[in-house]
């Protein structure tokens, strides 16, 4: 690979390092993601997966290395941070819906406030997104009245309302009851099929095998191994990857 990003590379991370106090959470992590690619990040807990994708939209500040999102370098420049944040959507483990707003208001808030969209326009978009994730009838309810799976689908719709180029998923199914995991994964798979660039931290190996273009294995803050699902599940190179897979499968 060259030292320069090609036009299709929508996320470029080069030697990203991050410390929490004395603890180094990320050690020289480098990853290039093509547009429309689905990359799944796996690894034991505490391996730095979440920290890594949270650096990409600056929820955590990386202290060394470069991150470039859609050609915009992530620096201390507030304008760049704003641009990157409005181009990346994020879905959290704990949903993080706004409990004081209805489902519809949750989805329309950012388009109206950040994109300066007209209210009725935003509501139309929101309704079509709710249709897409399969819960249009819940539009006027509050998050607390929905099941976990429904809340997570609303959270996905909320991110999509900003028409992001990239979607980051931080363990989107880990807080869900088993029977609800599938409804969320289905929405994500459908999203992947539309050609969305996705970076997914998850423990769902079935999803990784079926949907991912590439799988990244992280351990101890380092990217240990990157490859296609096929490569991973049949022919993993690294011992630690093998150990992890043997424990989880």
């Amino acid at each position: 690979m060259s030292e320069e990003a090609t036009a299709d590379e929508i996320i470029v991370c080069q030697d990203v390092c991050k410390w929490f106090g004395d603890f180094q959470a990320l050690k020289n992590c480098s990853l290039r993601v093509q547009a429309q690619e689905v990359v799944v990040i796996i690894g034991p807990s505490g391996s730095g997966k979440s920290t890594f994708i949270r650096c990409i939209n600056r929820l955590e500040e990386h202290q060394a290395g470069d991150i470039i999102v859609d050609g915009i370098p992530l620096t201390r420049d507030v304008r760049n941070i704003e641009q990157i944040r409005s181009e990346t959507g994020m879905v959290f483990q704990q949903f993080n819906l706004f409990p004081h707003l209805t489902v519809l208001e949750n989805i329309t808030l950012a388009p109206i406030q950040v994109r300066k969209m007209r209210k009725d326009e935003a509501q139309d978009t929101a309704m079509s997104l709710l249709n897409r994730v399969g819960i249009p009838e819940q539009a006027d309810k509050y998050p607390g009245q929905l099941s976990g799976g429904q809340q997570q689908r609303v959270a996905i719709a909320r991110s999509l309302a900003m028409s992001p180029k990239i979607m980051l998923f931080d363990e989107p199914t880990s807080a869900l009851d088993p029977e609800m995991i599938k409804e969320v994964l289905d929405v994500m798979q459908e999203l992947a099929e539309t050609g969305m660039t996705m970076l997914v931290v998850t423990h769902e190996m079935g999803f990784a095998r079926e949907v991912a273009d590439r799988i990244v294995f992280m351990d101890g803050g380092e990217i240990m191994e990157v490859g296609t699902p096929e490569h991973f599940f049949t022919n993993a190179q690294h011992d630690r990857t093998k150990l992890f897979l043997s424990q989880i499968l």
Binding site: L59, E82, S86, G89, M90, F98, H100, Q113
Partner: protein, 406 residues
Amino acid sequence: MTSAADANSDRSVLPITERYTLIGWVRRNLFSDTLNSLLTLAALAFLFIVASNLLRWAFVTAEWGVIPANFNLIMRGQYPATEAWRLWLVIYLLGAVVGSSWRLLSGKFSGAARLLIAIPFVLMLIPFFSMATRLNLVITAAASAAGFFITGYLPIQRRGRTAAYLLLAYLVVMLILLQGVGAEEGPMPPVAPILWGGLLLSLLLAFFGITLSFPLGVALALGRQSKLPAIRVMSVIYIEFIRGVPLISLLFMGQVMLQLFLPDGFPLVDRVLRALVAITLFSAAYTAENVRGGLQSISRGQYEAANALGLSTYQSTIHIILPQALRAVIPVLVGQFISLFKDTTLVALVGIFDLLGIARTILANPDWLGTQQEVYAIIAVLFWIFSYSMSYASRRLEQRLGVGQR
């Protein structure tokens, strides 16, 4: 097994102490064992002594004449009698505004709403009220009911914002009504604040104190939570300074030193206004601490979600953080209002004629020498009615919101 079944068949009737009869209740709650019985007897003796002395004082010893004779002073101080209608108008409007914003914010005619409407009726029970006063109280109750139901028929979208505007508009209208406009001979001649007094002034000071302190308090709370050290440190210093000193010292300082801080030739600030400044600065520190509690109750995920959506710090504070934080601390703020209402009595010590100050002037009148017990008892009862009903309503609200139940 058979013997147990036999025993059970004998027990098909609940033992007397478990039954929901009067005797069962008495046995269970008052005489369940020896210690309990002794306690009950001691409590009864205590109650008998207190009640008999209290009743003897209230109906035999006490000379209540001082109260009706000074009734208007107690209620509104030196506010001219010819302008009293303005005060009632202010109170009607308050009823309407409270009813209306209750509909806007809560939506339901719950037990607490019923309680709020009941306040005027409870006040009617005060023996010294004239029939006209009682009529006015009924009108107030009607106004709040009307405000509640009429608002229900209005197509209002942004409920919280509407309620806030309503309150602001009320503040302005209230001030105009109280202060008056136009010439001395006009329909609403001006009445200087120094003439406002009694219960009227106590309520106004608490009301304005909490309202004016609110923006400052919220700003301080946000400042204390800020990630910028200089702003955080200054907020902490302000809050801890104010909370560390007694209110009375701030009030005295306001009276003697406020004028010193202002440039030469600045018009002399009214005594009442100086007290209000001190009360506001005092209350802001407590508001800040209460709001901070609400801010801390919001999970980090909310900030992160707002950031990830691209909302600016200002936008996420206004749309995400504050609405949740403030909603969580409404009951606490009601509590703060109640204690501020009680604390306003301290202005009597800097020569302002609030409810307590008026009581002191009445007692200084040679006609009413030696009626301290009667006058102060009535003042205490007035304060008690207001703060107890408010705290009761807020407790109901709290239970309904499920706050404080872990």
